[in-house]
């Protein structure tokens, strides 16, 4: 695994096998944020088990490719590169999860944790109460400043209707999302 400076958030998700079980449970908890039972959207995967690598190029405000087809149970390694001038997220989840996450990210912007083109990691430790965290360390997503890259490995052991999306304010509404079709 390449060390990507500043991305210990992603490192935690993909590095050690012993964390996988905890993180599989975390994948469920990651979405719930105390909101209740989450749909099964798959789980973080092992890079060594990845059947292929998909490079996702992120611009303002768009993903390329715009749709991704996977097989059920397949493990895919995503290399996400932000070639835009603004902060973008690559987040795997259901439309409902994205809608909830948009509210969280809007709050992060309101509190100055995120700016349109900067991430203030030091401010992410803040606990705003009410079950809302200001950190952004869910294994099903990466958050990138302009020019940065990160990896995310995901095992699609699921039938859920998934989308990949950027939940920075206004981006999803501008169409910054794509379908993940899960075939047999």
């Amino acid at each position: 695994m390449k060390a990507i400076p500043g991305f210990r958030l992603v490192h935690r998700a993909v590095l050690s096998a012993s964390l996988t079980l905890a993180l599989a449970a975390g994948a469920q908890a990651a979405e719930s944020h105390g909101h209740g039972h989450a749909p099964d959207i798959g789980k973080p995967g092992q890079a060594a088990e990845a059947s292929r690598t998909v490079t996702v190029t992120v611009t303002d405000n768009r993903f390329a490719p715009e749709r991704i087809a996977v097989k059920k149970g397949e493990t895919v390694r995503f290399v996400v590169k932000n070639e835009g001038k603004f902060v973008h997220e690559f987040n795997i989840g259901t439309a409902a999860m994205h809608a909830r996450h948009q509210k969280d990210m809007a709050m992060m912007v309101e509190h100055g944790v995120l700016e349109a083109d900067k991430i203030h990691r030091d401010k992410m430790k803040m606990d705003m109460g009410g079950g809302h965290r200001m950190d952004h360390d869910d294994p099903n997503s990466v958050l990138l400043e302009p020019g940065k890259s990160a990896e995310l490995v995901w095992t699609f052991a699921t039938d859920a209707r998934l989308e990949f999306a950027c939940n920075m304010p206004g981006h999803y509404e501008s169409g910054m999302t794509g379908d993940i079709t899960i075939g047999k």
């Binding site: 303002d60 405000n61 001038k85 309101e110 100055g112 349109a116 206004g170 981006h171 501008s174 169409g175």
Partner: protein, 548 residues
């Protein structure tokens, strides 16, 4: 053999001809003339473009050379100005500044390249013809992909219509400045007041308010309008179709003569992606206010298989424009009741008289906005572009977020950020009693032109000493609004200055020639709130682009 060769010759000639036609020039033909209309429920006469009000949507492609032939079938001069377009000044369409206007019976040909993309509009710059119907939208398709995507789009033109001729409206305003204001009285009320109280008492009553230069309800100086969406009144209910789940782009144009509209779609949030034709960092709101002449492009995503009502409520709450977004024709949704008329507060009052407390209005120095904590600007109870405690402070009808100028940040700045070379103060002034409006207490006919130097970056300080909001529009060059966003300050063509407010804008002076600069409230412009801007010192190469 001979016949084959000559056949080939014809093919070659045809190919050469079509190549030259396709060499970037697109031709559009417009004809301006009187047409019968029925907007208010009674037949009336408007001036249409190609037989309609609004005129046709003009679709250009960024980069193409445009040839637009405009024919005048009226018995008075006319003109078309391309609002928000960057072009050589002789193509700008302002009689007395760009050209002599289009004489009755004549056809004038405009030629200029489309140098930008987005949503704009066109309108007459002659007399009061804009109020009579000479307006329409411009859509310029971009060369590069836009930073948003959508499945379909609709142009939504908001406008205001009166059966009374604009000349008569202006005469009424000159005779009696608050003719249309005092509790929204109609002609009938005026005459019944005279019958009840006598002419002297009625006029004295009006004069008293006039001397204070306000009544609390003086939000709009003309009422009695019918409000239109794409030329249709609320009963006709213009309908834009969608398939549930689609992202729909709505290109809103405020083509009215005098009306600020508060726009919302109950049940649908709107993501603003363009303001005045330029991409902005997307911001999702529940309602936004459009000053006269502004444009906003928003993305909506109606998920349900039902109709949604599109409400455009004038800021003065004098009526409502209404339309529908629906999956099929013939559907409608509930139309909300009109809201309470706002009352101007003391901080909205103009600084007309000595001895008045100007403290409240002086606090609006936007220079102080640099370095502000932007988190604090999300406070729903204030908007830095309105005087503190302003009665015009916008509030979202159904709760939620109301767009502020403070929310507009350029997606891709048009110019690098740099210090301005000088500052010019423009006090927005006027005399309600005699109904003329002015800048620095001088109307157009009494004023010197504003002279700018090519290559400078001028900072304008607008100080609104009146109790009306004024949408200020500089032709030919972008107006960069200082909303504290630094390099992301948005470039607009029209900036509204609220009563009692001070607003700063900057302009990179890069367009040689002479340009109009005025309040876009039509009767204000017509009575003097106007200046000519002369850009001097452009090098020869720059001036060669003037063409036409």
């Amino acid at each position: 053999m001979e016949r084959t060769l000559s056949w080939l010759g014809w093919v070659a000639a045809a190919a050469i001809l079509s190549l030259s036609a396709a060499a970037g020039a697109a031709t559009h033909d417009l004809s301006i003339g009187r047409i019968p209309v029925d907007f208010s429920g009674a037949p009336a006469t408007a001036i249409g473009v190609n037989g309609t009000v609004p005129g046709p949507v003009l679709r250009f492609k960024e980069g193409e050379e445009l040839v637009i032939n405009v024919t005048n079938t009226l018995d008075e001069d006319t003109s078309i100005h391309w609002h928000g377009l960057i072009l050589p000044f002789r193509q700008d369409g302002v009689p007395g500044i760009s050209f002599d206007g289009i004489k009755p019976g004549a056809t004038h040909t405009y030629r200029f390249p489309a140098q930008q993309s987005g949503t704009y509009w066109y309108h007459s710059h002659s007399g009061l013809q804009e109020q009579e119907g000479v307006y329409g939208a411009i859509v310029i398709e971009p060369k590069a992909r836009e930073p948003f995507r959508f499945d379909r789009e609709h142009v939504v033109i908001l406008s205001d219509w009166q059966d009374t001729s604009p000349k008569q409206i202006l005469a009424n305003l000159k005779k009696q400045s608050d003719y249309y204001n005092y509790s929204q009285r109609t002609v009938g009320d005026f005459f019944s007041d005279i019958a009840a109280k006598g002419l002297a008492a009625t006029l004295e009553d009006r004069k008293m308010w006039g001397e204070m230069r306000m009544t609390p309800t003086d939000i709009a100086d003309v009422s009695g309008y019918t409000f239109l969406v794409n030329g249709q009144n609320p009963d006709r209910n213009w309908t834009g179709l969608f398939a549930p789940g689609e992202r729909v782009r709505l290109r809103f144009v405020n083509a009215s003569a005098m009306t600020y509209f508060d726009v919302r779609i109950p049940g649908l949030r709107m993501t603003v992606v363009q303001a005045d034709g330029n991409n902005v960092q997307p911001v999702t709101v529940d309602e936004f206010r459009m000053a006269v002449a502004e444009t906003y492009d928003v993305i909506v995503r109606p998920m349900e298989d039902r109709a949604y009502t599109l409400v455009a409520e004038p800021m003065a709450r004098t009526g409502m424009a209404r339309a529908t977004l629906a999956p099929r024709e013939g559907m409608s949704a509930a139309v909300p009741a009109p809201r309470e008329r706002p009352l101007l507060s003391m901080s909205d009052m103009g600084m007309a008289h000595e001895g008045m407390d100007h403290g409240a209005t002086k606090e609006m120095d936007h220079g102080a906005m640099k370095g502000m904590d932007h988190g604090a600007m999300g406070d729903a109870k204030s908007d830095p572009f309105y005087a503190p405690g302003s009665g015009l402070l916008p509030k979202a009808a159904d709760g939620g977020k109301f767009l502020s100028y403070a929310d507009l940040k350029a997606q891709t700045p048009l110019y690098p950020q740099r210090e301005p070379t000088r500052e010019i103060e423009l006090r927005l002034t006027g005399n309600m009693e005699r109904y003329f409006w002015s800048i620095n207490d001088r109307k157009y006919s009494e004023a010197e032109p504003i002279r700018l130097k090519y290559g400078e970056r001028v900072r304008f300080k607008f100080v609104n000493e009146t109790m009306m909001a004024h949408p200020m529009h500089l032709h030919g060059m972008w107006t960069i609004l200082d909303n504290g966003s630094g390099r992301w300050n948005p470039a607009k063509h029209t900036v509204s200055i609220a009563p009692g407010a001070t607003v700063y804008t900057e302009t990179e002076v890069d367009a040689p020639g002479e340009w109009a600069f005025h309040c876009h409230l039509m009767y204000h412009m017509a009575t003097g709130m106007f200046r000519k801007v002369i850009v001097e010192g452009a090098p020869q190469a720059a001036r060669l682009g003037q063409g036409g």
